[in-house]
Symmetry: none
Subunit: 229 residues, 2 copies
DNA sequence: AAGCGTTGTCACAATACCGTCAATCAACTG
DNA sequence: CAGTTGATTGACGGTATTGTGACAACGCTT
């Protein structure tokens, strides 16, 4: 079993439904943070980013769409999957929900089983790292929970950006990622970063993970990008 | 500066939807050209043929069906896959769309994921390399995702142009390609490259893929071109 | 407020790679 | 067998692409 449970943030203002969902998520082994309040949800999410967010469309303080949009603005949260709960007949809203960046939606009424299944699917798709635990490529390992990186057992200190960059690589081992892909994936899709900055961060990451010795695990693919593996 | 990212042409006049789709396609690694205008779409498509076209049924200037028909008239574009976006209740049109040569259709409302999945399916059919499938001819294999080429299991280093050239060959196994075809296919339609340059790159590619031993897999067809197989 | 680590950007250095050419070679023609 | 046409090859200079060090701005911690 997994030592660390994936954390969910549930934003739902119907107490009965909330309780039911908390119960069924916990039965699946998730740790659940719950709030009925959109503002509070934003606070929680930015402070301790959860591994996924379940967001009811109809909540009191803020509309679900607004919460969703604000969440997506944070680069830290840009890749956290969001599932929206919509009532029947909110088809219009559903579309707009997807536009603002929700990964999936579930229409009420639904069975808890259906929701957990969707959640599992979304998590598997978007964050393979979170489904399993620490990722490993040869002697390089990254623990996303503890925020630690080791090479050949020896701890490696990385800056936040370097860490995210490495995690991005390790979630896609062997794949060549273009500078543009890395910019949107690591810095966020609305970032106005120079593409050459990727080069510099790659250089820094390289220096860090090669500092303990061993081959250079990042491959430069000329006129294409970089890949790890 | 020719990257190997597959290029899409998105013809959609709803700005919100267009933006969403551009975002999600780019997240999947596509390069996206976008226009709300059918006429302009035709221009773009004929000048720089994309790898696939996403076409909304309801656009302003021309009906989607007309755009589709005109696109199909160009021999250059005859094999480019077209996916139509239709609103619910346009069943009639959907059928006529398929009749006029669309490869697939997606009914609104749809999730971006659904569309990218359909697109991937269509691309897999028509351009295996772009869908990320590794291609193989005898003991020669090319992995477009990892940007790797192997002969008899042994890795082969290729320059960017050599790589694109080989990929172009492997997508058309056994076919004799003229120098002119290779120039436009590998260097781009607006390239002012000497045709003799093709010879040189073929020589370099030959040297590379034969360096591990084995027969010469590139056949010279005098006064016609080259073929791989 | 000062100190520290991190980060984005720039300018320049170091390459890898590419296109062209001219000479050579091979293939077809009569 | 010459003669002609087309293909191969090695060399070379130019250019596009990447690596690198420096630096100023920023945010955190003390």
């Amino acid at each position: 079993m997994n030592t660390m449970a994936p954390t969910l943030l549930l934003v739902e203002d119907d107490p009965a439904l909330a309780e039911l969902l908390v119960w069924s998520f916990e039965a699946e082994g998730y740790k659940v943070l719950q709030t009925p309040d959109g503002e509070e949800a934003l606070l929680i999410a930015t402070e301790t980013p959860p591994d996924a967010i379940i967001l009811d469309w109809m909540i009191e303080q803020l509309s679900g769409i607004e919460v969703c949009r604000r969440l997506r603005r944070h680069p830290e949260l840009a890749s956290v999957p969001i599932i929206m709960l919509t009532a029947r007949g909110e088809e219009e809203d559903r579309i707009r929900g997807l536009e603002t960046g929700a990964d999936d939606y579930v229409t009420k009424p639904f069975s808890p089983r259906e929701l957990t299944a969707r959640l599992a699917a979304v998590m598997r798709r978007t964050r393979p790292a979170l489904a399993g635990q620490t990722m490993r490529i040869e002697d390089l390992e990254l623990d996303p929970v503890a925020h630690r990186v080791r090479r050949d057992g020896k701890e490696i200190a990385l800056g936040p950006t370097e860490f995210r960059l490495l995690q991005h690589f390790m979630e896609r081992p062997g794949r060549v990622l273009s500078r543009a892909q890395l910019v949107t994936g690591v810095w966020g899709h609305d970032s106005d970063i120079e593409e050459r900055t990727v080069d510099v961060q790659v250089k820094r990451l390289r220096a860090a993970i090669n500092s303990t010795g061993g081959r250079d695990m990042i491959r430069t693919v000329r006129s294409a990008g970089y890949s790890l593996g």
